[in-house]
Symmetry: C2
Subunit: 367 residues, 2 copies
């Protein structure tokens, strides 16, 4: 078996120790006589697994007691509809559009609001500038009476990350709802600054098919009357995410990832490594005239780093030779072009070092 | 490692060869250099996995070409809302209520219809009789102009199975929508008799977090305007179930189960074994005056077999001694009481033999 360095934006690489443990426990979880996939979600074994997972996630993110943790399905895209269904309450919501994902969230919310009643506004958008930065101070047209304000704190496609929430958003009682899919658990976060945080699991948490929602108590119970039961945050919170059968195996693997993160020293420790990984790649890009990164320096993502070869005719050769070198899934999203290296928590420093070494060598041979 | 016989109603036992293969391929799927959980859903490796899974499922169920196969999330309970959102189209729908699950489907559809417009009727219900049988011929009050008629062809909690659809439902152009969660793939089925079939995976297909929908082409495109994108069957059909990231690992394991089923000889072969397993247990129950089964003989489920100890004071001892004997998850649903043995495809004949031997011995010692 030879493992590659996998730069996929998601589903993404998982820590090897997590995969090894999952493989070892596949037929018999710690003497239960069956694997986790085969366990009743109502039994004491799985109950222990989900409790440990929630407890570890709460510890990692320092989630205050007045927030509920939900393990749901449908990914972030389903949340784009669930959020207005649960939180709009006939009012108006603000959307900050800073890349492909927040744009999708806005479009879906517009459609849902038109059907259930309520209004969705764009408080700021960087689309005209090609999604290369965040709205400058003073540009935000925020409604102080909005039901909520939605933003995406790390844009997976465009590589734009919010490093300074206070600088972006004026203080306001409006609940902030943040899609953190592609950088959750990559750094400490002040959960209390948000009304709700959500994240599809398949980048920094675990397998696809799981979405984690962290929501403040007072935002529960506002859902539109026609909200499907399993899409109602309150119904799920009241039933410990088990109104129906949850994605048990995905929750188990997420729990193993949380344990692995704790063993790394928690989010401050993983952030230090993530800073080092990102700096290594950005410093190389900035010093190169063969490659180019186009995101404003103040909001470059540590997780998703898009870059271009200045001579785009070399793209196919770059991808083919990278694959030969054991570096895969580097092709950029079609809306941006070029390349993208997604370097989530599970990507070791050695993987980024190998990428930079390959890129240097490729440039020397083709420059 | 010592594996138990696991009679859980779901998530349920999986075939050992499937689990062994999944464990072996966890870190490296057939030389890809990464596991299935880590693969981009847009890559050629996962593309091959999902294509093979669909092709095998089509072969097993002999799905006609004018039906689409969708791999979705949210379980059957989410379908209870999705079905009226997609198919009601402002009209009226009929529900046949024969147990806990079809009753839940009816309640959720009533709530959704009230919010989006349309009507949900109960065409027949066996609730007054305690859900011990199917509606007798002539009792069905079916609306020939309904948008669809919904039924559950195997009630997991009450152990009632539809063995003769033609005897239950008069011929009609109304599309029949069937929840087959707990007996799909246990027997051949004439797909063309249905407008739509759906099944949560966690009984006879694979891990929880995946739901399979088989839907006739002409039923696509009728969704209510406020249907969330990922809940819209047409949007999912148009995108090969990948409007967003699907539950990739669950689809992979389901694909391994389909391969295992083909290796067993397909659905006719597995049905023969399922008939033998069910007969063994029902014959024992019928000959016993220590145990009791209360479902009408003509509609006893082959998959979920509820039974009572006539002296209910022995229930705890039964469960404790069964566990000692390596027979687990036999406790009945709280709404029915007593015991329930769920004997899906992955339960070998030897497991049912061991259960009957234990039950005989227990009765001899306590009778």
């Amino acid at each position: 078996m030879s493992r590659v360095y996998n730069f996929s934006p998601g589903p993404a690489a998982l820590p090897e120790p997590v995969l090894r443990q999952a493989a070892e426990e596949m037929l018999d979880w710690r003497g239960a006589g069956c694997g986790v996939m085969e366990m009743s979600h109502r039994g004491k074994e799985f109950g222990a697994i989900v409790e440990q997972a929630e407890s570890d996630l709460r510890a990692l993110l320092a989630i205050p007691a007045n927030y509920r943790v939900l393990f749901l399905q449908g990914g972030a895209t389903q949340q784009f509809a669930q959020i207005p269904m649960n939180l709009l309450a006939g009012g108006s919501a603000d959307y900050v559009v800073t890349g492909a994902w927040s744009a999708k969230a806005d479009r879906e919310a517009q459609r849902i609001a038109a059907a259930i009643g309520g209004r969705v506004r764009v408080a700021a958008s960087t689309e005209a500038g090609g999604f290369r930065g965040l709205p400058p101070p003073g540009v935000m047209d925020a409604d102080p009476t909005a039901s909520y304000l939605h933003l995406c704190t790390n844009e997976t496609v465009h590589g734009v990350e919010v490093h300074d929430l206070a600088g972006l958003l004026p203080a306001s009682p409006v609940p902030v709802v943040a899609d953190m899919s592609s950088h959750i658990l990559s750094r400490p976060v002040d959960v209390a600054r948000y009304g709700m945080i959500y994240a599809g699991a398949q980048k920094n948490i675990g397998p696809s098919g799981l979405v984690v929602v962290v929501i403040r108590d007072d935002l529960l119970g506002r859902a539109w009357a026609g909200t499907p039961s399993v899409l109602d945050y309150k119904a799920m919170a009241d039933n410990g995410s088990m109104l129906n059968t949850p994605p048990t195996y995905a929750i188990y693997v997420a729990g193993l990832v949380f344990q692995w993160l704790k063993a790394q020293g928690g989010l401050a420790a993983i952030e230090a490594i993530n800073i080092e990984k990102a700096r290594l790649l950005y410093d190389f890009l900035d010093a190169s005239d063969f490659y180019d990164n186009f995101v404003e320096a103040s909001c470059r993502s540590r997780m998703n780093i898009p870059f271009l070869l200045r001579d785009e005719r070399l793209n196919d050769a770059f991808l083919a030779e990278a694959r030969e070198a054991g570096l895969v899934q580097l092709k950029g999203h079609k809306s941006v072009g070029g390349m993208r290296a997604s370097i989530y928590n599970a990507m070791p420093l050695e993987g980024v070092q190998a990428l930079v070494a390959f890129m240097r060598d490729f440039a020397a041979r083709h420059g």
